[in-house]
Symmetry: C2
Subunit: 457 residues, 2 copies
C-alpha cells in the first residue's frame, strides 16, 4: 500500500529534479511508481511547475506507459497535454486508448483537432466514433464502449475460448460475452467464468442466459447506476431502439457516475448551480455565476418576511425584547426543517422512501416534531423565565412559537421534497436554503401572531 | 428492461393471489421474474401483508431460487425470515449463501441462533466464521470474502485453468486469481483474462503482477472504496499484519459502501446522527434521539446571538425598522456560508481540494464573496431607498451589513471545514446548521455595530 507521506516525498523529489532540468533522473523516479501514481505525480507537476514541464516529463515516459498514464489524468489535463505534443504522438495515444476514454477526450477537443485525428482513421471507425460523439452527455450511450466479446449461439465453448484468445480484449470488458444473431440483436449473455468451467464441446446456446438486464442508449446514467447497484453486475449491455447491441458499460465507469450524481445532489441542496469542474479550476466569475442566482431568489422571499415584520411593528416597539429571541426561533426552525428535508431527499434517492409514503412520513414527522418541539420549549421556558428573568407571558410566547415553528418546519421540510418528486422536480432542490427561507417566513408569522395573542398588544 | 408499471402490476396480482390463499399460482407468477425482482416482490409482500404471508411465499420457491432471493433481501427482512423457517431450511440457506452474505446475516442474528448454525459446521469453518464475525463493522475485514482462487507461482496456465474448472467459483470472485507462497503470503495477482489468452505451458510466475495494490483487514471501508475508485479494479486483496492473504473484496460490495458513506455525509451535514436504518423503519423515539442533540447544541449558540441583540436594544428601539431587514441578512448569510461549506466539503471528499490549498481557497472565496456581496448590496439599496422609502442612512446600513455578512459567511463556510479536516474532525460536521448558527452571530454583530456607527445612535 502506498503511503501518503512517501508519496509526498517522491513528488517533492521529482519536482526538485525538474526544476534543475534533470529530466532523465526525474523520469527514473517517476517510473518507480505504478501508472495511477504517475498520473497523480503529473497532476502535481502541472499544479506546481505549469503545463510545459509536465509535457516534457510526459514525453520522457516510455510510449506504453504514457498512454496508460494519459488515461488516468483528469480531462482538463489531457486536453492541455494534447495541445503540447506532436500530431504523431496524439495519433499514437488515440490508437492505444480504450474506446470510451478516447471518446471522452475527443468530446472536449476543439473541432479542428478532432477532424485531424479522424482523418487518420478508417471510414468504419470514423462512423462509430461520430455516433458515439453524438450521444447526450449523461446518457448510457456516452458511458459505453464498443469493445466487447461477441459470440454466436452455435459456437462451442472451445470455439469461444479460442476466439477470445485471438481477440485478446481489455481486462474490464472480457468477463461477460454477448451472444448476437445475424441482425446484431442481443440474444443472451455468457460469463467468461461459465466458459472456463464448462466442457469444450458444449454449445453457447445451452449456456447463455436469455433473461438478461440491459439498457437503452438514451437511458439516463442515474438509471444505469441504479441497475448496477441493484444487480451487482460487472458490465451491462446497451441496445438501441431495435434491440441491437451497440456497446457495453463496465462497473468501473459507474463508480465515477455515482460520484458525479452525488456531487450534483450536494450542489443542488446548497443552492449552487451544478458543475463538473473542480472547485479550484473554476474562475471567480464562474463561481459567482453559479451561486448568485439562488442567493438572489431566496433573498426575494425575505421581502415577504420583512413585510410581515413591518405589519407587526406595534407589537415589536412595545416588547422590544421579543427581537432577542427571533434569531433562535428562525435558526432552530431552519435547522429542524433541513434535518427532515435531508432525510427525505436521501431516502428518495436510495428508494427507501417513495412518494406513495407521504402520509406515513407526515404522521411520523408530526410525532417527531411534537416531541422535539416540546423538549426545546420546556428548556427555553426555563431559560427565559428563570435565567433571563423575563415575564411569564414573554416566556410562554417564545415557547409556544418554538413548538409551532419546529412542527411547521419539519412538515414543510419533509413534504416539499416529496411534492417536488411527485410533480417531476428534483427533490434535491428543496433542501436547506429553500426550506430555511420558507420556515423563516412561517417563524415570523407564528411568533408575532402568538405575541399579539398572548401579550394582548 | 423491466418497466416500473408492469412491475407494479405484477406485484398487485401476486398480492391479490396471496390474499385469496392461491399460493401455488402466486409462486408461478413470482417465478416469471428474475431473482432480484422476486426479492423486490417479497419486500412488497412483507410491507403489504406482513411477514407470515411472505414466509409462506418464500417457502413455496424452489430451493436454489430461494437462496438467491434471500441474498438480495435487506438484512432486516432476512432476519425476520430466518425466525420463521425451520432449522433445516436455515442450514440449507447458510450453506449455499456466498460467504460474505452469510457473515452479514450471522452478524445480525441472536447469539443462540448463531450457535445453532455453527454447531453444524466443521471446526475449520467455525474458526473462519468467528474470525470474520470479529472484524469491526466498517473495516475492510467486514467486507471481504475468503472465497477466491489461489494459485502457486510454479503452476502452468493449463494447471491453473484446470484448477479453476475443478473449483468452479462464484461469478464475482473468479476474475482475479491470487498467487501465494507456502506461508500464505501474497506474491502476486493474475487475471482470468491473462490465463485465458496465454499459452498453456507458461508459468504463473511469468504472468503475475507483483506490484499489486492491497489493503489491510483493519483499513476503513472509505479508504478501500477510494482505492477502488482510483484504480477501477473489480476486486482487491486483503492482507493481515503479516502480509498474509486473508480474503478479497469485490467491487459490487463497494457500490453499497459508497452509498452508505454518502448517506453518512448527508446526515452529518444536516445535523442528524448517522444511522444505517431506513427512514420509515426507524421509530419515532429513534428519530427524536438522532435529531434533538444537534438542534439543542445549535440552539445554545443563539443564547449568545440573543445576548448580542440585547446589548444593542438602544439602537433597536430607536430605529425599529432595522428588525425588518434582520431575517434577510441572517438568511442570506446562512445561505452564502452553506454554499461555500458544501463546495469545500464535497471537494475534500473527492480529493479536488486539500488542506494545503487553504490560502488559495480563502483568496478565491474573498473575491467571489466580494462580488456577490456587492451585487446583493446594490439591489438592496435600490429596494430599500426607492421601494420601501426608507432613509439613505438605513439603506446604507443594510447594504454595508450585507457586504460584510456575505464575505464573513463565505470565509467561515470555506475555512471551517478545512480547519476541521486539518485537526482530524469530519468536515461534513461543519455544514449548513453549524455555519448558519455562526454566521447568524456574525450577522447580528455586523448589522447592529454598523447601525450604531452609521445612524450615530
Amino acid at each position: 500500500m502506498e503511503n501518503e507521506f512517501t508519496m509526498d516525498g517522491i513528488i517533492k523529489t521529482i519536482i526538485e529534479l525538474l526544476k534543475l532540468k534533470k529530466y532523465s533522473r526525474a523520469r527514473d523516479e517517476m517510473l518507480k511508481n505504478n501508472t495511477v501514481e504517475i498520473a497523480e505525480i503529473l497532476e502535481e507537476i502541472i499544479e506546481e511547475l505549469g503545463i510545459e514541464k509536465a509535457i516534457i516529463s510526459f514525453r520522457t515516459l516510455p510510449k506504453d506507459v504514457s498512454v496508460e498514464v494519459f488515461a488516468y489524468l483528469p480531462i482538463d489535463d489531457q486536453i492541455d497535454i494534447i495541445a503540447g505534443i506532436t500530431d504523431r504522438e496524439i495519433q499514437y495515444i488515440m490508437d492505444e486508448l480504450a474506446f470510451d476514454d478516447m471518446i471522452d477526450v475527443l468530446e472536449e477537443l476543439p473541432a479542428n483537432v478532432v477532424d485531424k485525428i479522424l482523418e487518420k482513421t478508417t471510414k468504419d471507425e470514423r462512423r462509430t466514433i461520430n455516433t458515439f460523439l453524438n450521444y447526450p452527455e449523461t446518457s448510457a450511450g456516452s458511458l459505453m464502449t464498443p469493445d466487447y466479446i461477441s459470440l454466436r449461439k452455435n459456437m462451442t465453448v472451445a470455439d469461444a475460448l479460442a476466439y477470445i484468445k485471438k481477440e485478446g480484449m481489455d481486462t474490464e470488458t472480457v468477463y461477460t460475452c454477448y451472444v448476437k444473431d445475424e441482425g446484431r440483436k442481443l440474444l443472451g449473455i455468457v460469463s467468461l467464468r461459465t466458459l472456463v468451467v464448462s466442457d469444450d464441446h458444449v454449445r453457447i446456446e445451452e449456456l447463455m442466459h436469455e433473461d438478461m438486464v440491459y439498457v437503452n442508449v438514451l437511458d439516463d446514467q442515474e438509471q444505469v447506476s441504479d441497475l448496477f447497484k441493484k444487480y451487482g453486475f460487472l458490465a451491462m449491455p446497451v441496445v438501441d431502439n431495435e434491440q441491437r447491441l451497440v456497446g457495453i458499460i463496465t462497473v468501473d465507469d459507474i463508480l465515477d457516475v455515482i460520484d458525479e450524481e452525488t456531487t450534483e445532489d450536494f450542489h443542488k441542496m446548497a443552492g449552487v448551480a451544478v458543475s463538473t469542474e473542480e472547485y479550484l479550476d473554476m474562475s471567480v466569475w464562474k463561481h459567482v455565476k453559479n451561486r448568485l442566482p439562488w442567493l438572489f431568489i431566496l433573498m426575494l422571499s425575505y421581502v415577504v418576511t420583512g413585510g410581515i415584520i413591518s405589519s407587526f411593528e406595534d407589537v415589536l416597539s412595545n416588547v422590544i425584547v421579543l427581537v432577542t429571541y427571533l434569531p433562535m426561533l428562525m435558526g432552530t426552525g431552519g435547522n429542524s426543517g433541513s434535518q427532515s428535508a435531508t432525510l427525505i431527499i436521501r431516502g428518495l434517492a436510495l428508494g427507501d422512501v417513495d412518494t406513495g409514503d407521504a402520509l406515513k412520513v407526515l404522521w411520523k414527522e408530526l410525532r417527531v416534531s411534537f416531541l422535539i418541539g416540546l423538549v426545546l420549549s420546556v428548556l427555553n421556558f426555563a431559560r427565559i423565565y428563570w435565567m433571563d428573568g423575563e415575564g411569564v407571558m414573554v416566556a410562554l410566547t417564545v415557547c409556544g412559537a418554538m413548538l409551532v415553528i419546529v412542527m411547521a418546519a419539519k412538515t414543510i421540510g419533509s413534504m416539499l421534497p416529496m411534492g417536488a418528486k411527485k410533480v417531476g422536480i428534483d427533490p434535491a432542490l428543496m433542501a436547506s436554503p429553500m426550506i430555511a427561507s420558507l420556515t423563516d417566513m412561517v417563524s415570523v408569522v407564528a411568533y408575532f401572531a402568538l405575541a399579539t395573542l398572548i401579550l394582548g398588544i
